[in-house]
């Protein structure tokens, strides 16, 4: 593995050289002073800086294990600051506006926030050599790339609480199954107030693309089962311990690790579902700019994406990485069809208007579910 990595690094270095020759902007590393191997020069400069600070809102354990891969490779320790996305964005903006240079890499699930940072001039232009292996529609070329895998909303069930027949029904149409009266008192739902993505999930069913199939009536039928209303982290706990048998609106990235540990849960991606990718970028005021560039080069490598995939259990985003996850061989698991996932809710005016403080969507949801959040 290590040898493989070295070869890969060399290949990467060559690619970087080639790319550097082709582009005039600040892209992959060049070294005017010595003219020698730019990758080696970058590594040396990064090592001289001594450390790297990573701001992100993904799962903290995953981020730590992933960045540890970078530390193992180059001996540069990474400090991870993990906060919920909205707080992270606020904090980062505050720091940047105040001239506090803390973060080197900024990573966030919410793309609107990332766009805001680019517009504000907080993000530096940089194109990693292998940036082409990442989906262009989830990137802003030269600024940010979806280096961490995507995550998607699911409907999940506890296999020790439902029969094989139930599972077949849930797999066929999970939202309809959640409305089955046999699950009365044993359904859990996440509330749309907990994140914009969950709001979009319910919106998709009730007023968006899925309204023809489901509409508000389908949600009313789920509500008739008197569901337990909890936010993601608590809801997944309730499902695992069997308090609820079926749960609507849990992110798959929360579930993969439970499945890997043998917890009795399985899940299915409803149609339409919503999802997103984390965007990763270098901060303009990065106190360790070379370490940041080296990190972007490392993070776009095949090995780094394999490592992230192995840690999180999520589907690899790098087109050169094969999806060889154990879960792919499970009968119950079907990966989400990214062509059909609703990513664009962040730009959907009707949704944004309905779900903001003045809109009526949240009020309507509260009315249907008898929730007073």
């Amino acid at each position: 593995m290590n040898n493989f990595r070295k070869v890969a690094t060399l290949a990467l270095g060559a690619a970087v050289l080639w790319a550097a020759a082709g582009c005039a902007a600040d892209t992959a590393p060049t070294d005017q002073k010595t003219g020698s191997d730019p990758m080696a020069a970058l590594i040396a400069a990064a090592k001289a800086e001594g450390e790297l600070t990573f701001y992100g809102d993904a799962n903290e354990t995953s981020l730590q294990k992933w960045t540890q891969g970078f530390t193992d490779e180059y001996g540069i320790p990474v400090n991870v600051l993990r906060m919920p996305g909205s707080e992270l964005a606020q904090r980062f903006q505050q720091e940047q506006a105040a001239g506090q240079a803390q973060a080197d890499i900024f990573s966030i699930a919410d793309r609107v926030s990332m766009e805001k940072m680019v517009t504000a001039g907080y993000i530096t232009e940089y194109t990693p050599a292998d940036a082409g292996n990442y989906p262009a529609e989830q990137s802003k070329a030269g600024y940010y790339y979806p280096l961490q895998n995507g995550y998607f909303q699911t409907i999940a069930y506890n296999t020790s609480k439902v029969s094989a027949e139930d599972i077949a029904k849930i797999q066929a149409d999970p939202l309809k199954a959640a409305a089955d009266p046999k699950f009365k008192g044993k359904v859990g739902v996440n509330m749309p107030q907990s994140s914009q993505q969950i709001a979009a999930l319910y919106y998709g069913w009730s007023e968006g693309d899925g309204a023809g199939t489901y509409g508000w009536d389908a949600l009313k039928a789920v509500a008739a089962n008197k569901p337990l209303i909890q936010s993601s982290a608590t809801l997944v706990q309730s499902l695992v311990q069997g308090e609820v048998s079926i749960a609507v609106g849990i992110t798959d990235s929360l579930e993969f690790s439970y499945v890997a540990q043998g917890a009795p849960i399985q899940f299915v991606y409803p149609a339409p579902t919503v999802g997103g990718y984390f965007s990763d970028a270098i901060v303009k005021s990065a106190p360790h700019p070379n370490a940041a560039k080296l990190f972007m080069e490392w993070a776009t490598s095949v090995e780094a994406n394999q490592l992230y995939t192995q840690i999180t259990g999520t589907a690899p985003v790098n087109s050169k990485v094969k999806d060889e996850r154990d879960i792919m061989s499970q009968d119950w698991y079907t990966a989400p069809d990214t062509a059909k996932v609703w990513f664009d809710f962040i730009n959907d005016d009707a949704f944004l208007k309905a779900s903001d403080a003045k809109g009526d969507f949240l009020k309507k949801w509260n009315g249907v579910f008898g929730y007073n959040g």
Binding site: R91, Q94, Q102, D110, K186, Q237
Partner: protein, 593 residues
């Protein structure tokens, strides 16, 4: 809640003991006694302005902005204030929050007061153990405590329900206990608030002049009549104080109903504040404006409290430490009480901690004890984290510096308020109480706005400053309770013999107060070690304490690791308390508070 409270003060005739009679007609006397503020008062005022008024002011500034202060596109705007105060969107939330806070406080005072009476007046067997069991929930963050109860007593899958079903051969749908109901939520909330009421009331009961109760008893009144007609009126200041203290703290609670899935008819203001900060798109001005809304209500609370105490103390006897109150003879009752306390300790301390240990040893929650698989993987995962040592170090810094500074400044605040009084004293009293009026998340944001342009930003120093400000009310309250018990003439003697005020404080006041201050230190050590809300907002990647690691684990759904860190924190607290007890001879109980 504020510092003019006099636990252990008896209204009525002095009864011939060595006491000082202070005739204090409300307001009037104080106004005539205007004098130049002392140097100590000015120093304390400056400290409070920096630690408390600065961040609180930033919150007010933040409420009238279009975005968070300091951002480039930000401008002055009344939008957030208008929405919070006048749009009507938050009125239901406000009323519900106030109702919940008042109900929680009332119940806490009733139960805490009854517990305090039994533990101070009746020779309940093993009473030290019960007292410890009563305050043990304070060692857990309410979030972790609520999660433990969810695992224990959820209706379908709780440990108690699942296992009693197979043990007793009951139907699968039998629900024996259900924590996810209104009484269940109230019960868990009380576990975390009764200890405050208990600590305040029992310290007053212990330090009360016993001669009045004895007189009542000699005149033929029974135990109950004496308790109701003599003890209870005498406890009024302590009861009012703990009522307001708990009520204000309870306005900030939201995790317990949220975790237990209770769908109340309103969403607590603290939840609205949290959402305004965390749910995209975040809106810091709204959060700040909500913070100011709660602030006014607390201000009214402080004012009412000061009034009520002033009237209660029209004729006050300030006696030096009296003899111990005699024990009430309840030959059967004391065993019944012991049984009640044992059940309470089981529910409040033993079961949640056992659950936490179980959580830390199982990779995911299995509630059927027959199927449990234990593993140490959670412990190794936490242990091998690269930043666990740094986090431990940060927790130690917070755990040592915060209580020490808070106790010292708290002593200064109490001295100015209790001994020097005057207008400046009143101002300092209000300032020292403000931080509990502002939700932690908002207060911390104020600190962030204040310090983001300074070099100390993102260091553990900023977290320390925020926590010192946040716990100032606790420190001042504990110090003043102790100070009131000390006969003023001892201090005056030192001054007459030519000692400076500082020297008097260090040679007379401080040594006499030592037991109270050490008890306060120990309790504040526990709070500073456990605190999450503010540390989450303020710490950088290298300045996070253990409590923040636990919180992040909870947020990502890794409860096993969260339980491991939670237990580790409890061990840190236990070691700290043991250290305080053995080396400093400080007891974590109410006798010195």
């Amino acid at each position: 809640m504020t510092l003019l409270d006099r636990p252990g003060v008896a209204p009525g005739e002095p009864g011939g003991s060595a006491t000082e009679i202070v005739a204090l007609p409300p307001g009037g006397a104080r106004r005539t006694r205007l004098r130049a503020p002392s140097a100590l008062a000015i120093v304390i005022l400056l400290l409070l302005l920096g630690l408390v008024a600065g961040p609180v002011l930033m919150v007010f500034v933040g409420a009238v902005q279009s975005e968070a202060p300091g951002l480039p596109n930000n401008h002055f705007s009344w939008d957030a204030v208008f929405r919070v105060y006048f749009s009507g969107d938050f009125y239901g939330s406000l009323l519900g929050t106030l109702g919940m806070a008042i109900a929680t406080a009332a119940l806490s005072v009733v139960f805490g007061g009854i517990a305090a009476w039994f533990l101070t007046r009746v020779a309940v067997p093993l009473r030290r153990l019960w007292e410890f069991g009563l305050i043990l929930p304070l060692f857990l963050s309410p979030f972790v405590g609520a999660l433990a109860w969810l695992l224990l007593a959820a209706p379908n899958s709780g440990i108690i329900n699942v296992n009693l079903r197979w043990m007793l051969g009951l139907d699968d749908d039998t629900v024996l206990v259900n924590i996810m109901t209104l009484p269940g939520v109230v019960f868990v909330m009380l576990l975390f608030y009764v200890p405050y009421a208990y600590l305040f009331i029992s310290s007053a009961l212990r330090n009360m002049d016993p001669s009045l109760e004895e007189a009542s008893s000699m005149n033929g009144r029974g135990t109950f009549a004496t308790a109701m007609r003599v003890t209870l009126p005498m406890m009024r200041p302590a009861i009012v104080a703990s009522f307001f203290f708990v009520a204000v703290l309870a306005t900030g609670v939201f995790v317990i109903p949220a975790v237990l899935g209770l769908n109340t008819s309103f969403s607590p203001l603290a939840v609205e504040v949290y959402r305004a900060m965390t749910v995209f798109p975040s809106n810091p001005p709204t959060a700040a404006a909500l913070g100011t809304l709660l602030f006014w209500f607390t201000l009214v609370g402080v004012y009412l409290y000061r009034r009520s105490v002033r009237n209660a103390n029209r004729y006050v006897t300030l006696s030096a430490r009296a003899t111990r109150p005699r024990a009430v003879a309840l030959p059967v009752g004391r065993w019944v009480a012991a049984a009640f306390f044992a059940v309470y300790a089981l529910l409040a301390a033993v079961l949640p901690y056992l659950t936490l240990i179980l959580m830390s040893l199982t990779p995911f929650a299995i509630t059927d004890l027959r199927n449990i698989k234990l593993s140490l993987s959670g412990i190794t995962q936490v242990w091998t984290r690269p930043d666990v040592a740094t986090a431990f170090g940060n927790t130690l810094v917070l755990g040592i510096v915060v209580p020490t500074v808070v106790v010292l400044i708290g002593l200064g605040v109490a001295y100015v308020v209790v001994r020097e009084r005057g207008r400046l004293g009143a101002l300092i009293d209000y300032l020292g109480t403000f931080p509990i009026a502002v939700p932690g998340i908002v207060f911390a944001t104020g600190v962030l706005w204040l310090y983001v342009r300074t070099p100390v930003y993102a260091t553990v120093f900023v977290v320390t400053i925020a926590l010192i400000g946040a716990y100032m009310p606790h420190g001042a309250r504990f110090a003043s309770a102790g100070l009131i018990q000390i006969d003023r003439s001892l201090e005056e003697a030192a001054r007459m013999n030519g000692a400076s005020k500082l020297r008097m404080l260090f040679t007379v006041t401080f040594p006499l107060l030592r037991p109270s201050l050490l008890s306060a230190w120990t309790l504040l050590f526990v709070f500073a070690t456990r605190e999450v809300n503010e540390a989450v907002i303020l710490s950088g990647p290298k300045s996070r304490p253990l409590s923040v690691l636990a919180w992040n684990y909870v947020e990502q759904g890794s409860l096993q690791q969260a339980a491991v860190v939670g237990l580790f924190l409890t061990v840190v607290m236990a070691v700290g308390i043991l250290f305080a007890r053995v080396v400093l001879r400080a007891k974590l109980d109410s006798s010195n508070l």
